[in-house]
């Protein structure tokens, strides 16, 4: 299996997980974020389930040398908590509450070819391009490696 095959299968699996868990239904997202109204806490279990598996995977990571389809495991995340992080997360959160979609479910919904998903994903791409035009140095894309080397998560 090559990296691209792995990524495709992983994307497929991720997508089905999003659908099964309810993340592709904006009404469910809005219900989950409605802390002060009719709060539906069910979607907290989505993050819980994903976190349980990923915490186990991260524990395993220390015992492995290097990944089969990559040169190294990710570096420890940066620690600086700055205004960009908080402002970015806040802007994202407002959009999430407004549209009921975050990037994964929006892209998965493209498979259903609904008008909202098409409009949302197109606008999301525009939002990213605007960000890049404002905040990223105007370098040819291939020279922009240093910028992603500092990416966290």
């Amino acid at each position: 299996m090559r990296l691209n095959t792995l990524a495709f299968v992983s994307g497929l699996f991720f997508s089905v997980g999003l659908g099964v868990s309810g993340m592709t239904q904006p009404a469910r997202i809005v219900g989950f974020l409605d802390f002060f109204g009719r709060w539906d806490p069910t979607l907290a279990f989505v993050m819980g389930g994903a976190l349980a598996v990923m915490i186990a995977a991260n524990r395993l990571l220390g015992r492995l040398g290097r990944p089969i389809y990559g040169s190294a495991f990710p570096l420890p995340p940066p620690t600086r908590i700055d205004a960009r992080l908080v402002a970015g997360a806040a802007i994202f959160g407002i959009g999430w509450g407004l549209g009921g979609l975050c990037p994964g479910p929006a892209i998965a919904s493209l498979g259903a070819a609904t008008l909202p998903s098409i409009v949302f994903v197109a606008a999301m791409a525009v939002g990213m391009v605007i960000h890049n035009a404002v905040f990223l140095p105007r370098l040819p894309a291939r020279d922009a490696i240093a910028e992603t080397a500092t990416a966290d998560r």
Binding site: F8, F13, G37, V46, M54, P76, I94, A112, R153
Partner: protein, 136 residues
């Protein structure tokens, strides 16, 4: 359903981490296609194709999982998408990158980001509900 679906998401992200050393942050993967890098663009495109393909398969059997049942105009949906695109780039991650991958490695940045986007989302929902009567 929520827990099982979440576990599937976790398995997909764990496979990318353990086998490929890649972090499954969807906003970052999608943004990568807008600024392609030679070593990453291939798998990023394949992952996005998998995401869309999964939706395609599910939509045949479970179309109700993709119904947009909140009262939003096309303009409001476009505005939401713009904010999500811009915000996830500025804050370097979304629900998957910060909420799942970052939190699972106890990244302080990701914990702060996740609390922030959840609080901001709650405020947005509250505002749409109380100020605009649930429709926008």
């Amino acid at each position: 359903m929520a827990l099982g679906g979440g576990a599937m998401i976790g398995v997909a992200a764990a496979a990318m981490l353990l086998l490929a050393g890649r972090i499954t942050g969807i906003s970052g993967i999608f943004a990568g296609l807008l600024r392609p890098r030679r070593t990453e663009a291939g798998w990023q495109a394949a992952f996005v194709a998998g995401l869309v393909g999964g939706g395609l398969l599910l939509a045949r059997t479970r179309p109700e999982w993709f119904r947009f049942e909140i009262d939003r105009s096309v303009g409001a949906i476009a505005a939401a998408g713009l904010l999500v695109g811009f915000g996830t780039r500025l804050g370097n991650g979304c629900t998957s990158g910060h909420g799942v991958c970052g939190m699972s490695r106890l990244s302080g940045r990701s914990i702060v980001a996740t609390m922030t986007f959840m609080a901001a989302g709650a405020i947005a929902v509250l505002a749409v509900d109380r100020v605009f009567g649930g429709a926008l």
